[in-house]
C-alpha cells in the first residue's frame, strides 16, 4: 500500500515536471530598458545620436528672460548639497523641445501622458509612485538615434513603454501582434504606437474608442471586434471606471486557468498510466513471465 502511494506521488510529480512552465509563454526578460536619469553625458554616444549637430547651448541656454517661453524654469541651485541628487529629468525645461518638434509637442499636450502630468501637478503622487512622463522619459535627448526603421523603433517601443507598463508589454508579446511584429520582425503587424498613437498615448479600454485604432489595419472590423482584449491583465484597471473590460479580462484569465488545470490533469493521468504500464511490461519482459491468461 505504501509503495503504491509512493508510485502515485512519483507519477504526479513527473506530470508536473512535464507540464509546468508551458503556460508561462514568452518571458518578460527583454523588457527592461529605460536608461537611468543622470547628470553626466557620454559624448561618444552623443556624437552618434540624432542631436549630434546641435550645440549644448541650443538646448541648455544660460538665461531665459522673464516672459520668455519656459522662463519659469530655473536652473537648479548648484550650491545646494542635493544638487546632483535631484532627478535630472524633472529639472529640464521641455518647452525648448517644442522649438523644433512642434507637432509632437502639440500631440503630447493633448494626450494621456500630459493629462497625467497635469493631474500630478495638482495632486502630487506618493513617493515611489510612477511619475507622469516628460519628453526625456521616453526619448533620451542626448543619445536618441535618428533614421531608424520601423522594426527598430517598434522593438524600442516595447522596451520603453514596457518600463512603466510592464504588464501591457508582456501581454503585447503574448498577443499575435507582439509575436509577429516584436518577436519575428513582421513590420505589417502592430507595435505600441500603431494603436495608442505616438505622443497622444490614448487609452483604448473603451471598445468604442478602440475600434478606430483597429480599423487602421482591419478595415472591415465590425464594432464587436474591439471587444477583443489586447492586454488581458488586471494591471491598471479601475473596478468602477473599467467595469466592462474588467469583466472580460476576468473571463479570459479564468478560462485560461481552467484550461491549464484540465491539461495538467489529463496529461498527468495519461503519463502516469503509461509510465506504470511501461514498468509492468518491462517487468514481464525481463522476468520472462508470459502474459497471464
Amino acid at each position: 500500500m505504501k509503495r503504491r502511494r509512493k508510485t502515485l506521488w512519483g507519477a504526479a510529480l513527473l506530470a508536473l515536471v512535464f507540464t509546468a512552465g508551458l503556460p508561462a509563454g514568452p518571458g518578460a526578460a527583454a523588457l527592461k530598458g529605460a536608461e537611468p536619469s543622470t547628470w553626466f553625458v557620454d559624448m561618444g554616444r552623443f556624437n552618434q545620436g540624432a542631436h549630434a549637430s546641435l550645440t549644448c547651448g541650443q538646448c541648455h541656454p544660460k538665461h531665459l528672460k522673464a516672459g520668455q517661453k519656459g522662463s519659469q524654469f530655473k536652473h537648479p541651485d548648484i550650491t545646494s548639497p542635493r544638487y546632483l541628487k535631484a532627478p535630472v529629468r524633472r529639472e529640464y525645461n521641455y518647452h525648448l523641445c517644442a522649438d523644433c518638434h512642434r507637432t509632437a509637442w502639440k500631440r503630447y499636450l493633448g494626450g494621456a501622458h500630459a493629462e497625467a502630468m497635469r493631474r500630478q501637478a495638482q495632486d502630487p503622487p506618493k513617493a515611489g509612485a510612477l511619475l507622469a512622463p516628460t519628453c526625456a522619459d521616453c526619448h533620451n535627448p542626448h543619445y536618441i538615434l535618428g533614421g531608424r526603421d520601423r522594426l527598430a523603433l517598434g522593438r524600442r517601443q516595447v522596451r520603453v513603454c514596457g518600463s512603466c507598463h510592464p504588464a501591457q508589454a508582456a501581454t503585447y508579446r503574448q498577443s499575435y501582434h507582439g509575436k509577429a511584429a516584436a518577436n519575428l520582425g513582421n513590420t505589417r503587424a502592430a507595435f505600441c504606437t500603431d494603436c495608442h498613437g505616438a505622443h497622444t498615448a490614448v487609452s483604448l479600454k473603451d471598445p468604442t474608442v478602440a475600434i478606430q485604432a483597429c480599423r487602421r489595419c482591419h478595415l472591415d472590423a465590425p464594432p464587436n471586434f474591439a471587444q477583443m482584449v489586447m492586454h488581458p491583465t488586471l494591471a491598471g484597471l479601475d473596478p468602477k471606471r473599467d467595469a466592462g473590460k474588467l469583466w472580460r479580462v476576468n473571463l479570459i484569465l479564468t478560462v485560461g486557468m481552467i484550461m491549464f488545470v484540465i491539461v495538467l490533469v489529463v496529461v498527468g493521468s495519461y503519463y502516469g498510466h503509461h509510465l506504470l504500464w511501461m514498468l509492468r511490461e518491462l517487468h514481464h519482459k525481463i522476468r520472462k513471465h508470459g502474459h497471464e491468461e
Partner: protein
C-alpha cells in the same frame, strides 16, 4: 521462427484509405505543431529559427493554415467514407470491429489498471483497445474544436460581426491549451502506445503496411482472434486472409 517456405499469416487491419489518411494526419499534425508552437514561443531561439526557415511570421501562418486544411481535409474524407460505408455498403458503425465505445472498453480500462498494479491479468483487447479508441476520438473531436477556434482566429472580423469580440481571446486560449494537450498526448502517449512500448518496440508496422502478423494478433488482441476463430468455425471457411 519463420522461414521462406512458411509465410507468416497476416490479418488485414487497415485499408488503403485509412493508411493514407494516417499519413496525411501525421504529417499535417507535425507541421501544425511545429509552426504553431514556433509562433506561440516566438521569443525563443527555436521558434525564431523555424519562422526564419519558412520565411517569417506571415509564412509561418500560411504553412500552419495549409497544414490545418490538409489535416481537417482528412477528417472530412474520413467522415464521408463512414457515410458511404454505412449508407451505400451497408456496413456497421458499431460493434467489436468499430471505433464505437462499448461497455467492454470501460471494463478493459478497469482491468488494465488492475494489471498495471499487478492485481489482475492483462485485459483481453478486441480489434481496437480502449486506448486506441481514445486516440481516435481525441483526434476526431480535437480536430473539430481546433478547427473552430482556428477559424475564429483566421477570420476574426467575420466572426465578430455576430459574436462578441472577446470570444477571439477565448479562441486563442483554447487553441493554445488544446494544442499543448494534443502534442503532449499524440506526440508522446500515442507514439509510445503504438510504437515504443516494450511489447511493440521499435515500430508498429501495421498502420503503414495494413496487415498484422497472426502471432502478434493472438498476443495483442486475443478477443479479436477468438472472434475470428468463431467466425471461421461458423462459416466453415478460413476466416483469415
Amino acid at each position: 521462427m519463420k522461414n521462406n517456405q512458411q509465410v507468416t499469416q497476416m490479418v488485414k487491419r487497415f485499408s488503403v484509405l485509412q493508411r493514407t489518411l494516417h499519413w496525411v494526419v501525421m504529417l499535417g499534425f507535425i507541421g501544425l505543431g511545429l509552426t504553431g508552437f514556433s509562433l506561440a514561443y516566438s521569443d525563443q531561439w527555436w521558434g525564431q529559427a523555424v519562422a526564419w526557415l519558412v520565411g517569417g511570421a506571415s509564412h509561418l501562418g500560411w504553412v500552419h493554415r495549409a497544414c490545418a486544411v490538409a489535416t481537417y481535409g482528412a477528417v472530412v474524407v474520413h467522415l464521408l467514407w463512414l457515410a458511404y460505408f454505412k449508407l451505400v455498403l451497408g456496413g456497421r458503425l458499431t460493434g467489436a470491429d468499430s471505433m464505437f465505445p462499448t461497455a467492454k472498453d470501460f471494463s478493459d480500462l478497469a482491468a488494465h489498471l488492475k494489471y498495471i498494479f499487478a492485481a489482475g491479468p492483462a485485459p483481453r483487447f478486441g480489434r481496437f483497445s480502449y486506448l486506441e479508441k481514445a486516440d481516435y476520438w481525441a483526434v476526431l473531436i480535437g480536430m473539430n474544436t481546433m478547427g473552430i477556434t482556428g477559424l475564429v482566429m483566421w477570420f476574426p472580423e467575420w466572426f465578430s460581426s455576430f459574436l462578441p469580440g472577446y470570444l477571439i481571446n477565448l479562441a486563442m486560449i483554447l487553441h493554445f491549451y488544446e494544442a499543448v494537450l494534443a502534442v503532449a498526448i499524440k506526440f508522446v502517449v500515442h507514439v509510445y502506445t503504438a510504437h515504443l512500448r516494450p511489447e511493440v518496440f521499435p515500430l508498429e508496422k501495421n498502420i503503414f503496411s495494413g496487415y498484422e502478423p497472426i502471432d502478434r494478433l493472438k498476443h495483442e488482441r486475443p478477443a479479436q482472434w477468438e472472434a475470428l476463430q468463431a467466425a471461421a468455425e461458423g462459416s466453415g471457411g478460413e476466416g483469415v486472409q
